[in-house]
């Protein structure tokens, strides 16, 4: 068997059984990267020597029995907005072109403790702002299924790397759909956990109240194993939640009998591509056949999610990104006169257009005289959206729908019309506003051969229900063609 065809959990088992070594796995991944990167550009940074050294050291620990976990020895890719000690961390922005963190993000530390081996850092939309990975300062990432198309975003590099076999699994971050949407476009599994489940310490913030780190994997089993590993209570993150129920792999059960699933009619109306709708409804049918009770309902308020999201996320981003000023780290303009000119030139040259657009939007909605009309109103909408979900989860275990209205658009199609791009986030964004967990699972392909994603959403802290339903569906469909993308 080609080593790259293993899932993450299978690979680790094979390593622990002595069939292959962590070094073999890393070498295979690096060879795949050599072969595919010029077409795909999933990575900003690949640190070969460090990766091989780390793989050898992990192999030794596995042989000594010091590392026994389900992901020991597995090569992993990390989105470039998570700090990695000693390794370039750019957020795909020019402004952090030379930034090497002095500490690692808590999620990255957890990976390291479990013996997963970091290959490098994946490309993304600059500061996670975008839905296509085209706003990166380090070139676009292309969809492995069809390189004329985008991989989605903002975790497009992570999703593409998993799909192209350039890693065994990856970490992404999701502020408005940035894990689920690229997972959907690239035909992999992506999960955004309940807000507070994975520590945000070391995640370079975009919208702090919405950001969550989560896994992008080849299948649901890997997804559960990775989530189990990175979910941890962290006293360094005030918004981190202490959870007792993080044995997510225990939910890998092939059974949805009696599970109540609601499909919001609002998610299947105007603007959705017919093939996507068909695939999603077919997936619902599969779950129904497995014993779930599926019905349509009205979720309401769906149309308010996008304006509320872009108000809140931009407001937080405008403040979060203030620290990138050329004073302490990162890019500084080459010539300037005085402090204010230095700030202005550094930030004008260091940030890309989409980031500037959101900084301006966020600064505007927080400015005196507009705060109540925009920011506070958006917070009220956020609370009402949460309430609408609460009402839905009083009746359903899960909400099922599409991840995005379409499959992956062609390159350059989205950026010309940012508003249209924002509308593409309609099904994912409200999940972040409500702090809920959501999963994207592949559910087929359109006639162009591009993957379609099925989204399931659960109530807060109910990731197990997501995993169980996704696992059952995946079993039924016989898995997805992962790691084999051309």
């Amino acid at each position: 068997m080609d080593i790259l065809e293993y899932s993450a959990v299978e690979l680790s088992a094979a390593i622990r059984e002595g069939k292959v070594t962590a070094t073999d796995a890393m070498e295979a991944v690096l060879a795949r990267i050599d072969a595919r990167e010029k077409d795909i550009n999933a990575y900003v940074t690949v640190d070969r020597e460090q990766a091989l050294r780390a793989a050898a050291s992990v192999q030794e620990k596995i042989e000594k029995g010091e590392l026994t976990g389900p992901l020991a020895g597995v090569p992993v890719a990390v989105k470039d907005n998570m700090c990695t000690e000693g390794m370039l961390t750019t957020c795909s922005s020019k402004i952090l072109e030379n930034f090497v963190p002095t500490f690692s993000a808590e999620a990255v530390v957890n990976l390291g403790k479990a013996g997963a081996v970091i290959i490098g850092k994946t490309n993304m939309d600059e500061f996670a702002m975008g839905s296509t990975t085209e706003t990166s300062a380090y070139g676009v990432t292309r969809n492995p299924w069809n390189t004329a198309h985008v991989p989605g975003g903002s975790s497009g590099g992570s999703a593409a790397a998993v799909a192209a076999g350039e890693c065994f699994f990856a970490l992404g971050s999701d502020t408005g759909g940035s894990i689920r949407q690229p997972a959907s476009f690239c035909g992999v599994v992506g999960l955004k956990p309940t807000y507070g489940t994975v520590s945000r310490y070391g995640l370079i913030a975009y919208g702090s109240s919405l950001d969550q780190i989560g896994p992008l994997t080849k299948n649901v089993t890997d997804c559960a194993a990775v989530l189990e590993l990175i979910a941890s209570h962290d006293t360094k993150d005030s918004t981190s939640v202490r959870r007792e129920d993080t044995d997510f792999t225990s939910a890998l059960v092939d059974d949805v009998r009696g599970m109540k699933i609601g499909i919001p009619r609002d998610y299947l109306g105007d603007g959705i591509d017919a093939e996507v709708k068909e695939a999603v409804l077919a997936a619902a049918k599969v779950l129904e056949e497995k014993g779930a009770v599926v019905e349509e309902f009205d979720l309401s308020l769906v149309e308010y999610a996008i304006p509320a999201y872009y108000t809140i996320a931009a407001a937080e981003a405008s403040s979060n990104l203030e620290r990138f000023d050329g004073v302490k780290y990162g890019y500084r303009t080459s010539s300037y006169e005085g402090l204010h000119n230095m700030y202005k030139k550094t930030r004008s040259e260091g940030f890309g257009a989409e980031v500037k657009r959101r900084i301006m939007l966020g600064s505007f909605v927080l400015s005196s005289g507009y705060y109540d009309a925009y920011y506070l109103k958006a917070l009220k909408v956020k609370a009402m959206i949460k309430k609408a979900f609460d009402d839905a989860f009083a009746r359903y275990d899960l909400i099922l729908g599409p991840v995005a209205p379409t499959t992956a658009p062609r390159l350059e199609e989205s950026l010309s019309d940012p508003l249209k791009m924002y509308l593409g986030d309609i099904y994912t964004i409200s999940v972040n506003l409500a702090g809920l967990p959501g999963i994207s699972v592949p559910c087929g392909k359109d006639t162009k051969g591009l993957p379609i994603g099925l989204q399931m959403i659960a109530d807060s802290f109910q990731e197990k229900k997501l995993i169980q339903a996704a696992y059952t569906y995946e079993k039924m469909k016989g898995g997805v063609e992962n790691g084999k993308a051309i």
Partner: protein
Amino acid sequence: MAKQYETVIGLEVHVELATKTKIFCGCSTAFGGAPNTHTCPVCTGMPGSLPVLNKQVVNYAAAVGLATNCTITQYCKFDRKNYFYPDNPQNYQISQLYLPICRDGHVDIETAAGKKSVGIHEIHMEEDAGKLIHDEWEDCSLVDYNRSGVPLIEIVSEPDMCSAEEVIAYLEKLRMIIQYLGASDCKLNEGSMRADVNLSVREVGASEYGTRTEMKNLNSFRAITHAIERERERQIDLLESGQQVVQETRRWDDAKEYSYAMRSKEDAQDYRYFPDPDLVPVYISDEWLQQIRDSQPEFREEKMERYRKEFDIPEYDIGIITDSKRLADLFEETVAICGQPKKVSNWLMGETLRLLKEKGMDPEEILFSPEHLAKLIQLVDSKAINSTVAKEVFEAMFAGNVDPEQYVEEKGLKTVNDEDTLRTTIAEVIASNPQSVEDYRNGKEKAIGFLVGQTMKAMKGKADPASVNRILKELL
């Protein structure tokens, strides 16, 4: 001047809290230290770092609020105040705007003009900024983040004061309360207490306030007094000459006794305050609030009341000793060991205050322990040393908390009570001072004083003056 003007003053007082660690990270708040040594990713604004609230800051802030009769906001939040400046590593300061921890309090002050209650609008918690150092030689600026993230409270008064005297009384009252709480040492000269003065003038009887200015960089009570007087004059002069007072922030130059405009209201920045999404709201439960209430110390008025009952010392002494919690603590701890409150009080009011004044120190900086002060009093009581020697010993204790017994022993300062030695010495003094002896015998009583002095000198101060007197009279 034909018109009569009154001054309206409100204060914004920043107080650095005495926590061991910073408000949002575990770094030390210790003063000094090489630049950027008390720092971490959080207080230097590194990407990905997150703030975590130090609960002790809430304890102190709420304690100050309770002691100043405020309502405690049991569900309060932190907000970000956004502005670009290199001393502020994130380019936003974490502060409180919408839901400050304390509101609607007051403190009572007393001046020559009488008693008055000064309202407190609010008290909020926030982080201090780093320090910029301008290197003119190299023509560059450097920044030290050791102070970045040191916890502060800002106490905002109502515009209830009308003279420098009232302002000083208010500040002294705040300082006493906060020092009693142990929440800060409140040193104006070191910046652990900083006061910005908002001042306007208006004609007596006017119902509207005049346009106010805010005065910064006031590092002593003297500077505050002068700045208030000068700003009042400046504003009246403007109005008298038909000009307007401009709402602006001014900076006091203490050397030149003059202030200049830093920025006007038109330049005022929009801070774009919003709740910090990295911090969860602070919920101060009834139990927590009760704990803070229960651990409030005895404040000055209660302490004075108790002293009147417990200790036989004059009202004057009570006033002086309770003026500083440090002195009061020393007093009580020493009395607990050796009793004799009046003697303890004498040492504190006399030699201690004299030396503090001479050395320009605060009572907080006193080094000697109550055990040692008690020992010193016992040494004098037992006549082991005389009062002159005692003062010498005390100075040594004040300088370095030496053990008085050990010091007396090592320096050989014990009073010599050996009758034979004394008699021999006195006989020698009589023999070598015939003139004084004759004067005394001729009825000049005062001459004996000189002979006592000579004897003490010969004994190197270690004789008991009473014994010397007795033996001298005997031998003469």
